[in-house]
Structures are given as structure tokens and as C-alpha cells.
């Protein structure tokens, strides 16, 4: 299951150089104010570009905060980071996860039952921020952020080392208030587009997009799948023509190996449900990273 598509360079297991975080020089036509050099948004873009420059598709694991247990989550987060994740998406559990399939639903339910909430997540991420190599993206539904207070959330998230947010129930038509709060901190609001997103709507996202663009690979919810329709390739081509930011594909991937033989090459792949299932079955995040490498 090679993660390396070009087979040119072995993925580095050592700590990346300190310059990784320091500055970026990528020209960003679509970047909003506040996402300039050194901002969370530009760090995300740069990490993916660095992986690509090394001949790899950037690997972005997703893990629900507090799953399988709060202690094991802490351990898994550390192992994903040490195992070479380029970016880590941390799920904020919600009672009504409408875009998620059974595995992420179950992870959310159990995390909530264990008392996991946004405040605690931000505190914990802040504690671990110093030693962490991979930038973090928070993925969660709108209401918990809204309830926390958007500006307060943006400040606390930036302080916790969060570089970007994905909010699956916040289309571009409604994202003004959160976007403004995040942009003030240089944090990316990462667009989530689908195989059914027409080019005009992609353009509306592209005007303010930062970090990377998340392309949902199927008309459906999160969860692993064995096959993808031709429409994914078409959507990829459409998105490639609209966005200058890296494209990450997700929803349905169990590992980078699934990209082999596809008629397009994304810059990054997101793997969520397969990782959660692996952890739930008693596997370690370190093993998962090795399997994906």
C-alpha cells in the first residue's frame, strides 16, 4: 500500500526542520487578509505542498476528539503526529452529525458520553501544542462553535495551535460570521465541496478559500467505500480549474492506496472512518500510520 505515488522518496520519519512552521512563500491569489506568511492557513497549504514536492500525496488522518477514550485519543494524536501525518483533523463531537456515516456517528456518541466538549478539546490541544509537528484542523458542526461564541472560539482555537476549521453544515451562503472571526486570527475556513457542486458555487468558495480545499468524493456521508464514480474525476477537474489551493479528497477513503489507478491525483487524502474503526478494534495509531505508509 504505497503512499508514495512517484516512488521517488521515502517519507521522512524524522522531525521536520523548524523552517516548516516559520514561513511560507507560496503566492496565494485566493488567500484572504490574515492568511499571509506564518498564519495557520498558509501553514496548511505549505505542508501539503512540501509533501507533494517530496513525491507524496499528503496524508491527513481524522480522529474524533475523545475517541475511543479521552486517554487513548491523547495517545493516538501523539502517534499520528510522530508517525508523520502532514496535517491532523480533529473532530469535535456533535449530537446530530448529519454529514457523517455510522463510524463517525458512533465515535461522536461515545465521545459525548465521555463528557468531551469543545472547551475541553481546546484546552487539551493547547497543552500539547508545543511539541506537535503537524498542524491541526478542527472539524465540527456549527452549533457548538456558535454556542461557544465565534470570536472567542477563533481566539482560543488559534491559541491552541489550530490552523484551520472545517464546518460541514456551513455552506458559503452562511459562513460570513465564522469566516470573519477565523480570518482575524489567520485561521483557514476550509471549503468542503462535492461531486455535485457546480462551478459557480466552487467559484464562490474560491473567492475566500484558504488552507486547502476538501473535495467530498461521494454523494454520501463519511465512511469507507470500495469504488468511486466517474463523477469524482470530473469534479476533481472542475475543482482544479477553479481553486489554486491544494485539493484534498475525503469521505470514503481507507488509505492512500485507494488513489492508485485513479484518473487524477489529489494533493492530499483524508482518512477518517477507517482510522476510527482501526482504533476501536484495539489498533494503535502508530500501527495505522505504518500500514498507510
Amino acid at each position: 500500500m504505497p503512499l508514495i505515488l512517484n516512488q521517488t522518496e521515502k517519507r521522512s520519519r524524522t522531525a521536520p526542520s523548524t523552517t516548516d512552521r516559520a514561513e511560507g512563500s507560496r503566492p496565494e491569489q485566493t488567500s484572504p487578509p490574515g492568511s499571509g506568511q506564518g498564519s495557520g492557513a498558509s501553514v496548511l497549504t505549505r505542508r501539503i505542498e512540501e509533501a507533494n514536492a517530496a513525491g507524496r500525496v499528503a496524508f491527513i488522518p481524522f480522529i474524533t476528539a475523545g475517541f475511543p477514550t479521552p486517554a487513548k485519543f491523547r495517545e493516538a494524536l501523539r502517534e499520528l503526529d510522530e508517525g508523520g501525518a502532514d496535517i491532523i483533523e480533529v473532530g469535535v463531537p456533535f449530537s446530530d452529525p448529519v454529514a457523517d456515516g455510522p463510524m463517525v456517528q458512533e465515535a461522536s456518541r461515545r465521545a459525548l458520553a465521555a463528557g468531551v466538549g469543545l472547551r475541553g478539546i481546546l484546552e487539551e490541544l493547547a497543552e500539547g501544542a508545543a511539541g506537535r509537528k503537524a498542524p491541526l484542523v478542527l472539524m465540527g458542526y456549527y452549533n457548538p462553535f456558535l454556542r461557544y461564541g465565534l470570536e472567542r472560539f477563533a481566539r482560543d482555537a488559534a491559541a491552541a495551535g489550530v490552523s484551520g476549521c472545517i464546518v460541514p453544515d456551513l455552506p458559503v451562503d452562511e459562513d460570513g460570521p465564522l469566516r470573519a472571526a477565523l480570518e482575524a486570527q489567520g485561521t483557514a475556513l476550509i471549503p468542503l465541496v462535492g461531486v455535485n457542486t457546480p462551478v459557480e458555487r466552487m467559484r464562490a468558495y474560491a473567492r475566500r478559500a484558504a488552507g486547502y480545499v476538501y473535495l467530498v468524493s461521494v454523494l454520501g456521508v463519511t465512511g469507507e467505500r470500495s469504488a468511486f464514480a466517474d463523477e469524482l474525476a470530473e469534479a476533481f477537474t472542475r475543482a482544479r480549474s477553479v481553486f489554486s489551493l491544494p485539493l484534498a479528497v475525503g469521505f470514503g477513503f481507507s488509505g492512500p492506496a485507494q488513489l492508485e489507478g485513479m484518473p487524477f491525483r489529489p494533493q492530499a487524502v483524508v482518512v477518517g472512518s477507517a482510522l476510527l474503526r482501526f482504533l476501536d478494534a484495539g489498533g494503535s495509531a502508530a500501527d495505522f500510520m505504518r500500514r498507510c505508509a
Binding site: G117, N143, E174, V193, R201
Partner: protein, 408 residues
């Protein structure tokens, strides 16, 4: 006002993957709903198939006891037993014109599921109904009715296994099946354009009521009362009054379900006891905890058992045009029993909440005036719940029952 908003409430908070079908639906609402041929066909279905118009019934016994004229708008007499069919026939016809072959629906008590299944069968569409596993057990008879009408009922085992989880699952299904499927949402809530679409399709209730009141007593009523869960029968009853400058003096009261009323128990009263937030695509009033997680709701009436409410009601509440009150389970059960015995009408437990508020507040209502209660559904579906609750709460013993009847 921003598109799809009622003041600050409403909007369209859904995954991008649902925006294309919602935009397609919005376009269809603009293009197809006002079309004369569409209206003619819908009116024909409402009259010839559903049984409109529904009567406005004067309650002679209760009116005498209460000191004002109590009228019931009889949506309980609509085909399938509740106001839900007004909406499902309209949406089914719309779906047919949009070229969709499948209707998906959520249901709590099963009334919207049955009404969707009936509309689908009538128009030759397939139907998939999502229903919380818990509710499929509590409302087994309605599950059977849906299946008889040809619908596939999918029990939902996620979350709290009730209405809100059925909505989540229906939305997930719609994401995947949007090309062939119309999501026939059951109440005046959810993402734009559903709150407006469902309100408009249900407004036949209020429009008829106004005409019938003028015919019965030559004026608009003094007070109009309806129960509010998601709020579709109330939206359909109130909106024609809210939108009519001549109806400014009509007092409008929406009644939320307060659950058992015991301290700390879950309720279904987000307007009175909740706070603003986003659920199921809308910014509205919600029952939520300090972390923004949605709380379970509770009511003896499954049709009101929902932690959110339509955004237009949140706006009516905020502007004060409609007053919203809370009635608890026991009051609704008592009102249920009283209507059965006084007027020979078995109301749904949902509608019994609206009636209960009138009975509990009779002294504050205008003596000699005219009060209309939206009787949104009939109570046949509630027999098991009544059997379970009435011995303790309303009709404790045969002797007491006789005494109660003599008192009326």
C-alpha cells in the same frame, strides 16, 4: 430580509452536498407553485381526495361552560387523520413536476409518514420513511399503515432513536439519492425553502378559517390557538392572520409541550425554555446544553416531541405577534378526556395541548367572544398512550369516571 430568513432566524445550514437539491427545490417553488395548472390539480386533490374544506365546528357544551364560543378547525377530519396531508400532497405534486420518482420523509408519531405514503401512492411515486426505532415500537399501527400504503419504513437506530434522528437519517439519505428523490419534509422548519414551502401549503387551514368565521359569526375570531411542535399546523393557521392587516386585533397563541412538568424533566418547548442555535439546517430556538449539544425532548404527544421549532415561530415569538405558552402532559390528557365526553370528538394529543390552554385560561379569554382551536389531528393513533396514562391521570376509577361525567 436575507433570503430564507425570518428576522435573524432561518437560513440554510446544510452540507454543501445538499445545496444543489435545495436550490433546485427553491427554483421549483418559484416556477411551479404559482402555476395555474399546478394549483388547479392541487386544489382538486385537496377537495376530492383529502376532503377539504374541513369544517369549523362550534362546541356547544364547552362553549356554554366556558362562557365564550369555542370553535374547532377540524383538520382531524382530513384524510389520514391530520393536517399533514395538506403539505404532502403539495410536495408530492411538486416532486412529480420536478421529475423525482421517490419521496423520502421523516416521521415521529407516524402521521407525516402516513400522509407522505398516501400522497406517494396516490401519485405513483415510491416512498421511503425514516422513523426512530423507539417510535416504530410506540406507533406500530402507523408503521403498518405506511407499509399498507406501499412505503418502505426504515427504523433509525442512531442517536436518541426518535424524530430528530429520523430527520438526520433522512437528510443523509437525501444527500446520496438527491437525483431521484425529493425530501418531503414534514414541518415548517429545516433549511430554506422548507419553512416557507410547508407554511404556504398549510396556510389553507388559516385561509379557510377566516372565511368560515366570517360566515359563522360575521367577523374574525378574537383568539386563535394551535399547538406547536415543529410548527406546521400553527404556521398554516397563523400566517394568514399575521399577513392580513385586518387581522391585527386577532390574538394568536401557540402552545408548546412541557413534558411531565416535573423539575429537570425534558420538554418540547424551545421557544419558552430554549436558546437560539442551529439544528437541521435552520437557525432557530433549540433545546441545547451549554456546549451546544442538542438535548433530548419529551412530550406525551409524539408529534410535539422535538427539540427545535420552525424559524418563523422564533420570529413571531421575538416580535410578539404570536404569544407562546407551555402546557404539560397532564393538562393535555385532561383536555383530551374532556373533549371526548363533551363534544364527541377524540382529538390527537398534540391538538389537546392547544385545547388545554384554552380550558386552563378560560377566565382570561373574552366572555361572549369567539375562540378557534386548530384541531390538527384525531386521537385514534394515541389509544395505547391513553390506555397507559389515563388510569393514573384522568379517569382513575369507574366511580370517579361517572362522577366526572355528571359534573360536565
Amino acid at each position: 430580509m436575507k433570503k430564507g430568513y425570518f428576522g435573524e432566524f432561518g437560513g440554510c445550514f446544510v452540507p454543501e452536498l445538499l445545496m444543489p437539491p435545495l436550490l433546485e427545490l427553491e427554483q421549483a417553488c418559484t416556477d411551479i407553485l404559482p402555476d395555474k395548472a399546478f394549483r388547479t390539480e392541487l386544489d382538486g386533490l385537496l377537495r376530492g381526495y383529502a376532503g377539504r374544506e374541513t369544517p369549523l365546528t362550534l362546541c356547544p357544551t364547552l362553549s356554554r361552560e366556558l362562557g365564550f364560543n369555542l370553535y374547532l378547525k377540524r383538520e382531524d377530519l382530513l384524510h389520514t387523520g391530520a393536517h399533514k396531508l395538506n403539505n404532502t400532497l403539495g410536495q408530492a405534486l411538486l416532486a412529480e413536476r420536478m421529475g423525482k420518482s421517490v419521496l423520502a420523509a421523516e416521521t415521529g408519531a407516524g402521521q407525516h409518514g402516513v400522509a407522505t405514503a398516501a400522497a406517494a401512492a396516490r401519485l405513483g411515486l415510491s416512498c421511503v420513511v425514516f422513523m426512530g426505532e423507539e417510535d416504530t415500537r410506540r406507533q406500530a399501527a402507523n408503521v403498518m399503515r405506511m407499509r399498507l400504503l406501499g412505503a418502505e419504513v426504515r427504523p433509525v437506530a442512531s442517536g436518541t432513536r426518535t424524530l430528530k434522528d429520523a430527520i438526520n437519517e433522512a437528510l443523509r439519505f437525501w444527500i446520496a439519492e438527491q437525483r431521484t428523490t425529493h425530501y418531503c419534509f414534514g414541518t415548517a422548519a429545516g433549511p430554506h425553502p422548507f419553512p416557507t414551502l410547508v407554511r404556504d401549503l398549510q396556510s389553507v387551514i388559516g385561509e379557510e378559517t377566516k372565511v368560515q368565521c366570517r360566515s359563522a359569526f360575521g367577523a374574525l375570531p378574537d383568539v386563535v390557538v394551535a399547538c406547536v411542535g415543529g410548527g406546521s399546523n400553527a404556521a398554516g393557521m397563523f400566517y394568514p392572520f399575521v399577513a392580513d392587516p385586518e387581522a391585527d386585533a386577532v390574538r394568536l397563541a401557540g402552545i408548546e409541550a412541557g413534558g411531565t412538568g416535573e423539575p429537570g424533566c425534558y420538554t418540547s418547548a424551545p421557544l419558552n425554555l430554549g436558546s437560539p442555535g442551529v439544528l437541521h439546517g435552520q437557525y432557530s430556538m433549540l433545546l441545547q446544553d451549554a456546549d451546544g449539544q442538542i438535548l433530548p425532548s419529551h412530550s406525551v404527544s409524539a408529534g410535539l416531541d422535538y427539540p427545535g421549532v420552525g424559524p418563523e415561530h422564533a420570529w413571531f415569538h421575538k416580535t410578539g405577534r404570536v404569544e407562546y405558552h407551555v402546557v404539560v402532559d397532564a393538562e393535555a390528557l385532561h383536555a383530551f378526556a374532556r373533549l371526548c365526553r363533551s363534544e364527541g370528538i377524540i382529538p390527537a394529543l398534540e391538538s389537546s395541548h392547544a385545547l388545554a390552554w384554552v380550558l386552563e385560561n378560560a377566565e382570561a379569554l373574552p366572555a361572549g367572544g369567539n375562540v378557534v382551536v386548530s384541531l390538527s389531528g384525531r386521537g385514534d393513533k394515541d389509544m395505547d398512550i391513553i390506555r397507559e396514562h389515563m388510569p393514573d391521570l384522568c379517569l382513575p376509577a369507574r366511580a370517579a369516571e361517572k362522577e366526572a361525567v355528571q359534573c360536565l
